[in-house]
Symmetry: C3
Subunit: 100 residues, 3 copies
């Protein structure tokens, strides 16, 4: 059983961004993504420093480090200021190559 290291990029953000964000992820090199519905509370960018409780999505992308960096730079530049969004990156072992 072979595994290889990859980056797991998790983006938690507002549900309204799903279509636009996932399209951008593919353009940035993601060969796949997973979206699940979530709800939560957190700071909502600079538009509103207070608490917000709303419909969120949790988007996960498995990719190489370079793509992870592209995605990170893109979302910080384009969304982090104006949307409720938090992005975190972990390193995981993925089963078998050439499948994502």
């Amino acid at each position: 059983m072979g595994t290889f290291q990859a980056k797991l990029v998790t983006i938690i953000t507002e549900a309204l961004l799903e279509q636009e964000l996932t399209q951008r992820l593919v353009e940035l090199g993601a060969t796949g993504y997973t979206v699940s519905d979530a709800r939560g509370k957190g700071h909502r960018g600079v538009r509103d420093a207070g608490w917000e409780h709303g419909a969120n999505i949790r988007v996960e992308v498995l990719c190489d480090e370079e793509t992870a960096n592209h995605i990170a730079a893109f979302v910080v530049e384009n969304y982090y200021r104006d949307y409720a969004m938090v992005v975190f990156i972990d390193t995981v072992e993925v089963l078998r190559e050439n499948r994502f």
Copy 2:
């Protein structure tokens, strides 16, 4: 693009605990949390050592190590004995400071 290390605390437990638990998380220092619905099977505390298949939630909190330890100590003390609950902690890289 700056990142900083944080703890990702994941709590998988019974859905009925959502409101109480998330309120406690905020009181314990969490500046945000994400909840998603789940289902599953597992041991149900000491009330019932057998299998239980029911409505679960998956609660995630990104926080510093001290807050993670407070949360961990609290849930073990208050819920671990009586509810189906498993808590695990991972270290992740979070994009940009002062956003959660």
Copy 3:
């Protein structure tokens, strides 16, 4: 507060596999699992090398390394070829022993 290291095996696959897959996970030694609904895009095995957007599930199993390896070997052997599936493994700290 005690923790111990465990493997978190995450399987993202087609929703139609839920019942069969979770039954196999238990047979392979998992003492619990968590399933949540998801949607996504990715390669769909060798049946179809193109993009597929459909109903997915995200299955998580916390287990020891040996069980993780059994699960990994089993799913690669039985599902990886014919189903949209990606499996990744992470190491996490779990609160308290003898609870999963």
